[in-house]
Symmetry: C2
Subunit: 359 residues, 2 copies
């Protein structure tokens, strides 16, 4: 089995030669150069990842929904009870959640992984059981988990990514479930992007001003504690102020990059995990595609830091992988444009002098 | 056959009762209220259009690509030769254009209509021949077409919409092809949105500063001429400064609204046609869904005027219906969420007190 260490070692920079070939092909296709905007950029990236132009179309995709609970919920940072994490995992199992509907719509497989739900889960169809611990500790007061636990969660994610690619999936989508998980995400984003807690903490599922004020304070307190405890290195930070599903996602992202497939990021939880992945293995960034711009301010801070421009901006703040699912058809379209469009030559279309756009 | 007049008479306001039912259902589905952002708004609109909740999923869709030429090309407003319109129609016929690839990707049928290409077109598979005249006159100097010609083009669009819905299509996408057609679009948008030519004229397929300056002047001159000639009423304006494909699109939009299906708008050409449609039959706006935000400034001006928020913003400026095709899966997803997601009750998920969001 391939753990996080193996996956990290396998990540190579994406191929600039294939990217250049894609840019050149785009200029010969029957359309004004650049007129497909970010769809062209996405196609170029897919070529760089696959090291060939045109790129394979990522028809077979999977969304991994990593679930975990958060001790910090004791601080009252969310109005939702912790039990909802387990209830939603059951809902994923019976196909009634948003991610089931949207993944089904775009033809992606859903894989749900218990990497740290607080309660013991009953019989849930298709659930992967990889619980590292039953929820994190309260990061406002102590490290969320030990470094060894963070490493085990990284392994869970990396192993699943390797397995999914082994099974023929050509695009990995990130998903998450964990009541309270925008709080550790904000803490990680604040530290890794050098932004203040107030700048990157959002209202999550929807909280009032009073609770929001408390949430920012908790994030600030967790960051201060982590600093006092000397957590600097990315895995130590992940253990100190992160979450089990965030750690698994970081492993999954590196695993996808190691297997040379695009990793389509969902919202703010995925963005926090992506920052951790990039801090450990910088070359993973070339394999990341930002699915959408979450309404959480931390998501935008993280994507800016990573230099990623999201494909969609629909005002989503649900998580689960929903935004990544909605973005999948756009990514597939980017590949098909390069694979299937005619060139000016092949179609007998006159090429306009593209003034002001091309050199 | 159903012409534009019949279609106009059939347009009724969308159903506010079904919309309210959809909003209420959205708040009971297993997700924080409002957390699917604009996907929720789109679902509500689909219910209002179909007059039922949940709405039918618009699985079967068609994109009509209306093609026409523009006499104003003589003024040097585009670097592309007029022959490219006909060459691209041939490219549509052989399946090599961007709209073919993207429509194929999302499962939409492509229907190409010659409503005003300047040259005689040869044998092109699937082409609908409905040429009203071989290109418009030069709108910088004289009316683009007569009022009777504009009315015939409106009929062409309305009839095709009725036929497509009759054949089982449940969503109509707009498409266009016409070298030079951002110029009449800018003129119509300037007049109908009360914006200056400089504000709403864009670089189209990509032109340099000098040509851009000339283009703004041409738009201003056309508007002045139309005013001098007393063109005020929307069909007169369409005849004076419009285009044959723009007129057909306006008819198609009203035809879709009259048949009570959503009309998914592409870019700036569609936006100009939508303004005309709304000026003639205001209730059509309820049936319009803006597929994407074109980079053309006129598109944003028109969408703002119509009160439409686009689903996608990918920096597209190609036309043909490409942006509408990319948006179709998002619209379908909006319907499936309402149809297929579990409610808190049905899934046994605790409902969090959604503070600060719900009343």
């Amino acid at each position: 089995m391939s753990g996080f260490g193996d996956a990290s070692a396998r990540v190579v920079p994406t191929d600039t030669g294939a990217a250049a070939e894609a840019r050149s092909l785009h200029d010969r296709l029957t359309k004004p150069p650049g007129s497909l905007g970010r769809l062209e950029d996405a196609g170029v990236q897919l070529c760089a990842i696959a090291r060939t132009c045109p790129p394979p179309v990522p028809e077979t995709a999977a969304v991994a929904v990593f679930a975990g609970d958060h001790g910090v919920l004791a601080e009252g940072i969310s109005p939702w009870p912790q039990a909802v994490t387990a209830q939603m995992v059951a809902n994923f199992g019976s196909g009634g959640a948003a991610v089931n509907v949207l993944a089904g719509h775009v033809g992606a497989d859903v894989v749900v992984v218990d990497v740290g739900v607080a309660s013991e889960l009953g019989d849930i169809p298709g659930l992967r059981r990889a619980k590292v611990r039953p929820g994190t500790a309260n990061l406002a007061k102590e490290p969320a988990m030990t470094r060894a636990e963070a490493e085990r969660a990284l392994d869970v994610g990396a192993q699943l990514a390797a397995e999914l690619v082994q099974d023929g999936h050509r695009c990995l989508l990130t998903g998450d479930m964990g009541i309270g998980n925008t709080t550790p995400s904000a803490a990680l984003i604040s530290i890794l992007c050098s932004r203040s807690p107030a700048e990157v903490t959002g209202r999550g599922t929807g909280i009032d001003d009073e609770r929001m004020h408390r949430k920012v304070e908790i994030v600030a307190r967790a960051i201060e504690r982590a600093r006092d405890e000397g957590a600097n290195e990315p895995v130590d930070l992940l253990a100190s102020v992160g979450g089990l599903e965030i750690a698994a996602l970081a492993g999954y992202i590196v695993g996808g990059a190691g297997a040379r497939v695009p990793v389509l990021l969902d919202g703010v939880i995925a963005s926090a995990a992506a920052l951790v992945a990039a801090a450990i293995v910088p070359e993973t960034v070339g394999y990341m595609v930002a699915g959408h711009r979450s309404t959480e301010p931390g998501a935008t801070a993280a994507l800016d830091h990573l230099g990623l421009v999201p494909l969609l901006d629909l005002g989503l703040r649900l998580g689960e992988g929903t935004g990544a699912c909605l973005a999948l058809p756009v990514l597939q379209a980017a590949a098909k444009v390069l694979r299937d469009m005619a060139t000016f030559d092949s179609a007998g279309v006159s090429e306009g002098p593209a003034e002001g756009i091309s050199p």
